[in-house]
Symmetry: C3
Subunit: 139 residues, 3 copies
């Protein structure tokens, strides 16, 4: 079973879509198996992270912006791929440092997420985007 999730973003940061994924698994009727998510882009990524304190999401986003500054930052003058904007190549780098695919087991008809785990689209581009994530259930 497969479903396409669309996640609307509006600049860098973590966008939770746990609810949609939970419903997809529930509606499928699958009792035990594996859910895999795959993002069809190279400038955003996927994360399973804490969904309790929103400060965690802000700190995660800021860490990555400090690790990989915009290409107009003096420390990033060595970048070659700058023609798509100062946020583009850093976005590719952040997408290489974080997952393009994630797999989560299904147990007794439910996603086997831990208590504090949520599923996030991690946007790395400056502008708003509609991001496509393919969800696949296998048994």
């Amino acid at each position: 079973m497969q479903r396409l999730f669309k996640v609307q973003t509006s600049g860098p940061g973590l966008y939770e879509f746990t609810g949609e994924v939970v419903r997809f698994v529930r509606d499928s009727g699958l009792r035990e198996g594996l859910l895999t998510l795959f993002v069809q882009h190279t400038s955003c990524s996927l994360l399973v992270q804490e969904n309790a304190d929103p400060d965690v999401r802000q700190d995660l986003d800021e860490f990555f912006r400090r690790l990989v500054p915009s290409s107009d930052d003096p420390s990033m003058q060595w970048l070659r791929h700058t023609n798509e904007g100062p946020d583009d190549m850093p976005a590719h780098i952040k997408a290489a440092l974080t997952p393009v695919s994630l797999s989560i087991p299904v147990t007794d008809g439910r996603l086997a997420l831990g208590t504090w785990q949520g599923i996030f689209l991690f946007e790395h581009r400056a502008g708003g985007q509609t991001r496509r994530v393919v969800g696949q259930l296998t048994s």
Copy 2:
């Protein structure tokens, strides 16, 4: 087929549990398919890494501690999420930089690990914890 692995940790570092996973696959009788591991936490992660020289594990752990210092380090004063201790937010960041899930093929009834590959729980918190990893076999 599914199994829950519990890995006891006592501070930051890599804890190998290849043996338990190998036994799970062998006991399942599966000849060809896929083993997926998923860690139900947001402050530790999973790694497949060299299990020959223990210095590799120490160097890996130290690299991540240098890249993401404790939140009481002067370089990390910008962190917001500090109420769960100076090791907590850095643990979330390290968990974002390393896998929450891993998939390894099963070939002729065995995990298709390379010669020097072992499976590790990568603990990022300071204290001792019992960590939960769900293993799922699909064919």
Copy 3:
């Protein structure tokens, strides 16, 4: 269904092998399911990244070389595991920061890659190597 891909490398960088993987999926006849790739080494990794502008690959490689310099660089004097050459321990670290396994859905008999996505072996060692990647299809 399983296939072993061999990727010949000649020093650090990204080596695309999307074509071989696409053919494996097509030849399998599978209409819907999941392709998983797993690299049987601990000093190279896998990436799904942009395959349009080759500058993106160069920038990615250079970012990782700047983040994790060779162990004969003054900033890396703390490394212990240096007996296999100055490129070896940095290669293990880069392999921990990037995926050992990737999963991509199969939709209507084709890999569900986005428009600009290619599949790459990311070599982190200095010398030439033949790298083994196991591909597994599950439904």
